[in-house]
C-alpha cells in the first residue's frame, strides 16, 4: 500500500503502469479505479499561473498511510496507491493520484472516491496560488466532491 509524497513531477499513467507491473497480480484483480488531480489554469473564477503546495512533513505521510489502511479495512482491496506532489507545481502537472485494485468494481470505485474525498478534507496539505497578475493567495478550503448533475441546476 504505497503512499508517496514527492517534490518531483510525476506522470500518473506511468506510475499506475509501473505499480501494476510491480504488483504482479494479473488475474487476481478485475477492477482498478483511479483519480488524478491536475493543476488547473483557473480557480474560483480567477486565472492561476502556478501553485505552491505546503505540507506537514511526517504527519502528511503518516495520515495518508493510515488512510490507505482504513480503505483496506473497509473494502476488500488487493492494493491501494496514493501519490501527492508538494512544492512548486506548474500548469497541467499532476497534483494527486489515488487508485484502488479489487476483484470487483464496486469496491475499487468506492475506495478510490473515499481516498480522494478524505484526503481533500483531512490530509495536511495547503495550496498557495500565484494568480495571473502575480498576486499570491492561500486556497481557503476544499469543496465537496459529491456531485450535483448539471442538468438539475438549470
Amino acid at each position: 500500500m504505497p503512499v508517496i509524497v514527492t517534490p518531483d513531477p510525476f506522470n500518473p499513467w506511468q506510475a499506475l503502469a509501473d505499480h501494476e507491473q510491480q504488483l504482479n497480480q494479473q488475474g487476481h484483480y478485475g477492477a482498478v479505479a483511479s483519480f488524478v488531480g491536475t493543476m488547473r489554469n483557473h480557480n474560483e473564477g480567477v486565472g492561476v499561473q502556478s501553485m505552491w503546495l505546503e505540507h506537514y512533513p511526517s504527519m502528511t505521510e503518516h495520515y495518508l498511510a493510515q488512510l490507505a489502511q482504513r480503505a483496506q479495512q473497509q473494502w476488500s482491496l488487493l492494493e491501494v496507491l496514493i501519490i501527492h506532489r508538494v512544492g512548486q507545481i506548474e500548469l497541467g502537472q499532476s497534483i494527486v493520484l489515488t487508485a484502488a485494485w479489487s476483484a470487483h468494481r464496486a469496491e475499487a470505485l468506492a475506495a478510490c472516491q473515499f481516498l480522494i474525498e478524505d484526503l481533500k478534507f483531512n490530509a495536511p496539505f495547503w495550496k498557495r496560488e500565484t494568480l495571473q497578475d502575480g498576486q499570491q493567495r492561500w486556497v481557503e478550503k476544499n469543496t465537496s466532491g459529491v456531485c450535483v448533475p448539471s442538468t438539475t441546476e438549470g
Binding site: 503546495l53 505546503e54 503518516h62 490530509a123 495547503w126
Partner: protein, 77 residues
C-alpha cells in the same frame, strides 16, 4: 516540560512564526499551548490541531516532549 509548537501555511504567515519551543511547569491543554505560544492572540475557530501528528481537539492535555501543531483547513488533492 518542553513542548514544540508548529504553525503551517497561512497561519504561519499571519503569526510570522513557524515553530516555538515552550517551557512550562504546569500541565497544559492544546488551547493553553496556543495561548502561551501566541501571546494571548485568541484561538481562531477554524484552526485544526494535532498532537504528535494526530488530530486532537483543544481540550487535549499535552505531555512533556509533545509536538503540537496548528494549521488552517487543509486544501490538498
Amino acid at each position: 516540560m518542553t513542548i514544540t509548537v508548529k504553525f503551517f501555511a497561512s497561519l504561519r504567515e499571519q503569526l510570522e512564526k513557524s515553530e516555538v519551543k515552550l517551557d512550562s511547569v504546569n500541565a497544559l491543554t492544546v488551547a493553553q499551548v496556543w495561548t502561551q505560544a501566541c501571546d494571548e492572540v485568541p484561538l481562531p475557530s477554524h484552526v485544526l490541531m494535532a498532537v504528535n501528528m494526530a488530530y486532537v481537539d483543544q481540550h487535549t492535555v499535552v505531555q512533556d516532549g509533545d509536538e503540537v501543531a496548528f494549521f488552517p483547513p487543509v486544501t490538498g488533492g
